[in-house]
Amino acid sequence: MADVISYREAVAEGIAREMRRDPTVVCLGEDIGEAGGVFKTTVGLRKEFGPERVWDTPISEQAIVGAAMGAAMTGMRPVAEIMFSDFLACCWDYLANEIPKVRYMTGGQVTVPLVVRTANGGGLGFGAQHSQATENWAFTIPGLKIAAPATPADVIGMMAAAIRSDDPVVFFEHKALLATKGATPPPDHVVELGRAAVVRAGADVTLVALASMVPVALKAADVLAREGIEAEVVDLRCLVPLDMSTVLASLGRTSRLVTVEENPYQGGWGATVVSVVADEGFALLDAPVRRVAGECVPLPFADALEEEVIPTVDKVVAAVRGLAAY
C-alpha cells in the first residue's frame, strides 16, 4: 500500500479491508462491479472478491436498499451504494420508514447492520439534482447513524466502524473531496463513530465543520491566523452519534462558535449544534453564535452561481471577523 492515498481510493480500500476480514460483507449498487463505480470508488473490488460479493444492480434504488435491508436482517452485512445522494429520495421509504424503525417496532427483535454509501454535495457543477448536501435529510430520522468523513484516513477508519456497526449507517462520501489525498492509515485503522476531531487548535473561535467544509474551515483559519485570529477547527465526522462534548470542550477554550455547513441554513445540522450549545453551554459563550450555511435554493449549475450559494473560505472568514470583534 502506498504511503499516500486519495479519498476516492480510500473508499474502495476501506471496503476491501472489511471484506477481507468478514465474509458476510457484500456490496451492491449501480455500476459498482466491472465499472468500478461512476466515481471510481469501488475500483478493484469485483476483481478481488468476485461477482458473488460485488453485485451490479438495475437502476432500482428501492430494490437496492430494500434488498440490503432484507439481507442485513438475515445474517449479512451489505454495503449498498446509492450513486448520488440526491437519489436517496428515490428510496426514502426505506431510509425513513423501514430501516430505522424495524428494530424499535419489533421490540428489539431485528438488527439491521447495513451501510448505505452515497456521493454527497456540490462544488463540481453537476446541477440541482446531482449536487445537494443531503445529510440533513437523514438527520431528521431517529434510528440512522450518519458518517461524513473529510479525509482519506477517516474514510477508511469510519468505513470499518460503519460496516462493523450493528446499526444502519448512512455514509456520505463528499464528491468535492474525492481527489484529495492523505496518509494511508495502518492496517485495522478504525475510527469510532461519534468521535469528533479537533483538527486545528486555536484559542479565539471554534469552527465546527463537516466533510467538504472541513478544508474550507481550515483554509479560513489560515487566513484568519495572518490577521491574528486563532481558530480551532472541529471536524464533527458524524452527525449521529453527535459528539457535542468535543464541541463544548472547544468552546470552553475559545468562547466563540461558528458552524460551517454546506447544506441550507434552514433545517441544517448547525442549528442542532447551536441549540445544544444554547441549552447546555450558554455560559461558555462570550459572543453570539454564527452559522455559515448554504442558501436555501436548489444548487445552480454555473461555477459562479454555485459559489454564491455554497459556503466559501471568504464567507467563513467574514463571519469570524465580525464575531472576533464582538
Partner: protein, 325 residues
Amino acid sequence: MDPAELLAAYEQMAVIRRTEKAAHDLFLQGLVKGTTHLAAGHEAIAVGASAALRPDDYVFATYRGHHHAMARGATPEECLAELMSRATGLCKAKGGSMHLTKAATGMLGSYAIVGAHLPMAAGAAWSARLRGTEQIAVAFFGDGATNIGAFHEALNLAAVWKLPVLFVCENNLYMEYTPIADVTAVPRPAADRAPAYGIPGEVVDGNDVVAVQEAVARFAGRARAGDGPALLEAETYRHFGHSRADPATYRPAEEVERWLKRDPLDLARGRLVAMGVSQAVVSEADDRATAVVQKAVEAAKAGPAPDPREALSDVWADGGAAWRT
C-alpha cells in the same frame, strides 16, 4: 395433504379465525387501540403456504398480517397482548397490530407501507443464497401493492438475480376501499405482470388451503433448486372492511354473499369429511381452537402495561436510543 395434515391446517385456521374475532370484540370493548386490519377470510393463504415451507424459511407480511404471524409461530396470546398494548406483547407493545413480528421463527415482520417489504424479501432470499442455506423467502402482499414501484423493482431484481423468493398476492378484490379492477391496467393484478419479468405467474384459489399448499410447495421447490422466483396470485375475500374504520358498505351484497359461502374453513371442513374424517373429529378441533383462544384472551388481558421507560429503548443494537456520545 393427508387427513392428519389437513386437520392440523384446519385447526390452525380455526385458531386464527377465533383470534381475529377476539381482536374485533376487544376493539369494541375499548381494549384494542389504534386500528386493526383483520384477515378473517384469508386464513387459507397463510396456513396453506406455511404448511409448504421449512421452519427456517423467511416470511414478510403486510399490515394485514395477524394470520401470517400466527401461521409462522406467533401465539394468539402474544398477538392479542400486542394489540392490547401489554408488555407481554409480541413486540413489547411497540409495534401493534400492523407490525406483528416473530424473528425467532422467521416471521420477519409486518410492514405498513404498502409494497415496501417485497424488496426486503428479495434481500432475505439473496442472503440465503449467499450463505448457501437453501432457505427461501416469501412476501405476502395485497392486490393494491401490485401498483407500487417497489413491487416492480423487487420482481425485476429477484428475476435477474434468480433469487429463491416467492411473491404471494392476496387478491381480495379491493385495494383498501377501491376495487383493484378499477385502478389496474390488467385483469390479474399480480399474475398478469409475471411475464414482464420472465417468471412463472399463477392464479390459485386462496380460500382452499390444499390448493395454496400445493402451489406454494411447487414454487418453493423450484426456488430452492435455484430456478428463481415466482408470483402466485391467491384469490380471496375479506370478511370485514379494510380496517376498523370501514364497514365495507361499498361491496355489493350479492358479491359478499357469494364469497362468504366460500369460507376457507367451510371448504376445509368439506374436504376433511370427503376424506372420511368424521364431523365429531372436526368439531373437536373447533373446540380446541375455541379453548386456546379463550385462554389467550384472558392471559393477554392479565398482562402488565409496558414500563414507560421502554419508550427509550431498542432504537440501537445496544438497546438504547442515544443520539449523542
